[in-house]
């Protein structure tokens, strides 16, 4: 196990918006096939961390290494340079992102949403893209909805389309950002079941969530973040068992009530 290269390695990540420091040196490692949940109160920097990994945010210091490739920046003569747009786009396509507010393309059908990246980024032909899209839509239980527009779908269905859209790109790593927070309570479970299903298939997932029970059930490891730092990083049994740090204990006490 020791010589196996990790899929994702985040080292000393620093990020600030103006004078506000959001990430203060985050280290995190994911192995292939691992499911890791990040918990923490809002403002702890967990969503920002995810957005940095998907290169939607710039960061000021530290490295993100995905499958052996340092992403987002190159070092030329000792100075960091943000990569060019085309390069960033290629690296982004290696990770899939599922957003809290779905962000489906409103002018495309469910199938069209899944197909856009397959056609324009992966350069599949129309027929092939179509059949991949159909396969993923039926994987998330929406085979019969593939020609519906987002406005004709419920929130839970929209989020499942978004999951299909991310996974159809065959990403090395899937990032899920509070995927159930914008849903009505009765629609949460169908989305969580879908995520559980892809986790069981062996996908590598980095999940930001408020659903503690879900984090415990699905994850190999749970990371607790507070004020821009990783405070705890341990298997769920340990995290939810005898909490070691006072901050984690406090956080869990507040979320349970």
């Amino acid at each position: 196990m020791e010589n196996v290269q990790p899929l994702l390695e985040i080292r000393g990540l620093h990020k600030h918006f103006g004078s506000v420091e959001v990430l203060k040196g985050v280290d995190l490692t994911l192995r292939r096939g691992e499911v890791v949940s990040i918990i923490g109160s809002s403002g702890s920097g967990k969503t920002t961390l995810l957005r940095c990994v998907n290169l939607l945010e710039e960061f000021q210091d530290g490295d993100i290494v995905l499958d052996g490739e340092t992403i987002g920046y190159s070092i030329v003569n000792g100075r960091r340079h943000r990569l060019r747009d085309r390069e960033l786009s290629r690296q982004r396509s290696m990770t899939g992102m599922v957003f809290q507010s779905f962000n489906l393309f409103p002018h495309l059908t469910a199938a069209g949403n899944v197909m856009l990246g397959l056609r324009k980024v992966r350069r599949f032909g129309k027929e092939e893209a179509r059949s991949i899209a159909e396969r993923w839509l039926s994987r998330v239980g929406l085979a019969s909805r593939s020609d519906h527009y987002p406005s004709q779908l419920s929130g839970g269905q929209q989020q499942r389309v978004a999951i299909a859209r991310a996974l159809a790109m065959d990403p090395k790593l899937v990032l899920l950002d509070e995927v159930t927070s914008a849903l009505d309570p009765e629609l949460v479970q169908e989305v969580l079941n879908t995520v559980k299903g892809i986790a069981d298939d062996g996908a590598t997932l980095l999940i930001v969530t408020h659903e503690m029970r879900f984090a415990r059930d699905v994850s190999h490891r749970v990371v607790f973040m507070d004020q821009g730092q990783v405070v705890e990083d341990a298997p769920p049994a340990e995290i939810f068992g005898n909490s070691r740090s006072q901050r984690l204990a406090e956080f869990l006490r507040n979320t349970r009530t």
């Binding site: 899939g96 990246g117 987002p150």
Partner: protein, 219 residues
């Protein structure tokens, strides 16, 4: 007083009015088609990264919106030949109206652009589309759907403004009406019919556009 309405002379020249109407529509369609290109380019430039680009667009919109269309038409028609560019009166009018409509369409598209949700653009970036691909396949279609109603209104406005082509002797509806007015002295009838034709055409265009809007799904 003592004026009695007699439409006979007008119906005799009705075909001229109709061909005038067709010319007006043709001018508006050509101008708005070109103006749409100007407007799209300018709108994307105005939310783009280049400060100079944004400044040029701001100036363009401000100048055109505050300038009478007739001045612009005369300037293009009479001034370009002096600068060595030969255009016939149709080309020069279409050019002027395209320039004019482009400024209004810039604002229409800019409003449509700001109404595109930020998260949807991020989702496109997240699956690996480049900035240009995102604009072409995601931002532009959503923006165009948002802008469709205002685009239609702008087109109707430009169709009405095509009447100003009469000032450079293009035989469109207003020009023909004025000619019939002078030839027949059926003054009241002429302007009732001319105005009625414009209103009917605007109404027809508006209902056509509403049908078009219904064809596309609302977001």
């Amino acid at each position: 007083m003592g004026y009695t309405l007699q439409f006979g002379a007008i119906w005799a020249s009705f075909d001229k009015l109709m061909s005038g109407l067709a010319i007006g529509l043709g001018l508006a369609i050509a101008a708005v088609a070109i103006g749409t290109c100007f407007g799209l380019l300018a709108a994307f430039a105005s939310v783009g990264l280049s400060r100079i680009g944004r400044m040029i667009v701001t100036c363009y919109v401000m100048v055109i919106r505050n300038l009478p269309l007739l001045v612009l038409v005369l300037l293009v028609y009479f001034a370009l030949p002096q600068a060595g560019i030969r255009l016939d009166k149709y080309e020069s009018f279409i050019g002027a109206l395209a320039l004019y409509s482009g400024a209004y369409l810039t604002e229409v598209f800019r409003a449509g652009l700001t109404a595109v949700p930020k998260g949807v653009v991020e989702a496109a970036r997240a699956i690996g589309l480049t900035r240009i691909q995102t604009n072409v396949f995601v931002t532009a279609p959503i923006m165009l759907r948002n802008a469709l109603p205002s685009l239609g209104n702008t087109f109707i406005g430009m169709f009405k403004d095509s009447s100003i082509a009469a000032a450079i002797a293009i035989p469109e509806l207003t020009f023909q009406a004025r000619k019939i007015n002078v030839d027949t002295f059926r003054v009241v009838e002429t302007w009732i019919v001319a105005s009625g034709l414009y209103i009917a055409a605007c109404f027809a265009i508006a209902s056509l556009l509403r049908r078009l809007e219904r064809r596309f799904p609302k977001f």
